[in-house]
Amino acid sequence: MALLEVRDLRVVFQRRGTEPFTAVDGVSFDVDPGQTVGLVGESGCGKSVTSLAIMGLLPSRGNKVSGQVRFEGTDLLTLSDKDMRDRRGRDLGMVFQDPLSSLNPVIPIGLQVTEVLERHRGMSRKAAMVEAADLLGRVGIPDPQRRLSEYPHQLSGGMRQRALIAIALACRPRLLIADEPTTALDVTIQAQILALLKELVRDTGTALIMITHDLGVVAGLCDEVNVLYGGRVVEKAARYPLFADPRHPYTHGLLASIPRLDGARGEKLVPIKGSVADNIPWDHGCAFAPRCPNALPVCREVTPELEAGDVRSLRCHNPVLPGTPAAQEVPA
């Protein structure tokens, strides 16, 4: 049994007076203990909403979540608010995108670490402070003892994200969800944070769901990758086959739009035309069809299913041929 089994997860946002909006539309994936799974896609593809739904952190009103999120066999979606609070921070940890706004500006770092230890590990404030200094040291924050009494604004961006990682891992959760943890950071700091995450995941055996729009992050970290578009998984494969041989035109386009060091001089980047549509995209044919260079008439009429193969699952009527180089083929 996998550690986490997400089955047919669906999140519909509905406000009075507006059309319901399906942000996540039947997403399924597994995460094994110690495994790192990537959820990749551009803004609005439903990756963050998926993670918030797993954590039970979606707003209490205005949305409908269905499907199953089985964690060690228990469907988290059926748990009461109280039971879910017992699990969050203990079994499941989460690191967010913007480390400055994710820390409380008026509370010292120390308390923000210790409160989770006091909550789930029943530690006294004093013991928790000792543990907190240890945790901050372990995520690479120099002089952790002094940092305990400092406030978020006194730390650098990278430090803050390290502190948030320390908080998320304080109770040794079996699953860590990182939602774009490096997006708000400088490039050099990004690399450090990714290296840290990789190391911590390896050392603690924590499973990791990595949510990102950055394929570079995926390439360096993930064992398995789910590419999301319009709230659905369009391609799912292990890291190597996905990068070596992307089959979905969307995945292919994502890879083609990354600058490469080994590309020819003067080679142009190939963007994916258009942007994610806001309306319900999967009702009439493929949601990616309007932007897809490979689109056939059938793509606009028949909604493609996610078909599982040996190395990958693919949702496409007319996939990119195996071995097509990413950067040359798609017309600009």
Binding site: L57, R87, R88, S101, P105
Partner: protein, 334 residues
């Protein structure tokens, strides 16, 4: 912190100087003057001129101002033209009543306003929230004196639950220590006096405190709603903290920043409302001094009262700044 306070107090000096000038000029630009008011029906232009000379009002206004400034720097605010008593003594006698009323009103507004605002925010869009929002709308719209008269009619006259006027029952003979009626009762252990003073406070405090209450509720509600959407609240939830702890530690403290500003502003405005409330409930604080002073153009008394209001305003603002520094470490740093 001490340096911060001292700096702010020094900054207040030019503010008060400018205010003193404005007050001085403004009072003298009002039609009529103390001489005419003092002489009443017997006033003739000659008599007024003669009295003006006695009072020093015939001199150029800038000379009057510098003389006034010189005197107040040595603590002499002059004597009231109505009672002949030094205005400092007059005000000192009436001040405790006004402070007591203002504090009671403020206490009523804050103690009720913050929880109510929080409650409304956490029930956003539901009945409790909607009725609170409508209630506060009515609250800010009702004039103080009208509410005072209404409360008096209903609770003092019709239902006879509270005394209609005054600070203490005439049958009680309290020992005066500080002239704060409730405090005196407690200090001297005259419990019946304290209780009676408290009883007299209820209606005026509610009348005076209703507008600040409504404003505080609205600001607290808006501020809590803002904070509830903050990322760090989501982080706190991701930690699995108990809802109550999140509320106390993460939401309330951050939400208090705009609320403390509001409390400060409302405290400054209380003085104006206090004058009207004191009139309705025959309270005998600064309100009657001020009203009488304006009618009779009692320059010395009015100057002192208005400057006092300015000082209170400055001090309240200082308190707000200090509370900011206590709540928010980022303010402390800068």
């Amino acid at each position: 912190m001490l340096r911060f306070i001292v700096r702010r107090l020094l900054q207040a000096i030019p503010t008060l100087l400018i205010l003193s000038l404005l007050v001085f000029v403004w009072l003298r630009s009002l039609p009529g003057g103390p001489s005419g008011a003092l002489l009443g029906d017997k006033a003739t232009p000659e008599k007024i001129e003669a009295l003006n000379k006695v009072l020093g009002l015939d001199q150029p206004i800038y000379i009057q101002y510098f003389k006034f400034l010189g005197r107040i720097l040595s603590g002499d605010f002059g004597s009231s033209l109505i009672s002949g008593e030094p205005v400092v003594a007059e005000i000192g006698r009436a001040l405790p009543a006004t402070i007591e009323l203002s504090l009671a009103a403020l206490l009523f507004a804050v103690v009720l306003g913050i929880p109510l605002g929080y409650l409304a925010a956490s029930h956003r869009g539901r009945f409790l929230d909607n009725s609170t929002v409508i209630g506060t709308l009515v609250g800010v719209a009702v004039p103080v004196f009208f509410l005072g008269i209404l409360l008096k009619q209903l609770f003092a006259q019709d239902l006879a639950l509270f005394p209609p006027s005054g600070r203490q029952d005439v049958t009680i003979d309290p020992t005066h220590v500080t002239n704060f009626a409730v405090l005196d009762g407690l200090l001297t252990q005259e419990w019946d006096a304290a209780a009676d003073a408290l009883w007299h406070l209820v209606l005026p405090a509610v009348a005076l405190g209703t507008i600040p209450l409504a404003v505080i509720v609205r600001i607290t509600r808006a501020s809590v709603l803002d904070v509830l959407n903050e990322d760090f609240v989501r982080t706190a939830n991701a930690k699995g903290l108990q809802a109550q702890l999140i509320r106390r530690r993460h939401v309330l403290r951050n939400a208090m920043l705009p609320v403390s500003t509001t409390i400060g502003l409302q405290t400054g405005l209380l003085l104006g409302g206090a004058v009207l409330t004191e009139r309705v409930f025959v309270w005998g604080g600064l309100g009657s001094l001020l009203a009488q002073g304006i009618e009779r153009r009692d320059y010395p008394r009015l100057q002192a009262l208005l400057l006092l209001a300015a000082v209170v305003y400055v001090l309240v603002n200082l308190l707000v700044d200090i509370s900011y520094a206590i709540i928010d470490p980022r303010v402390r740093a800068s």
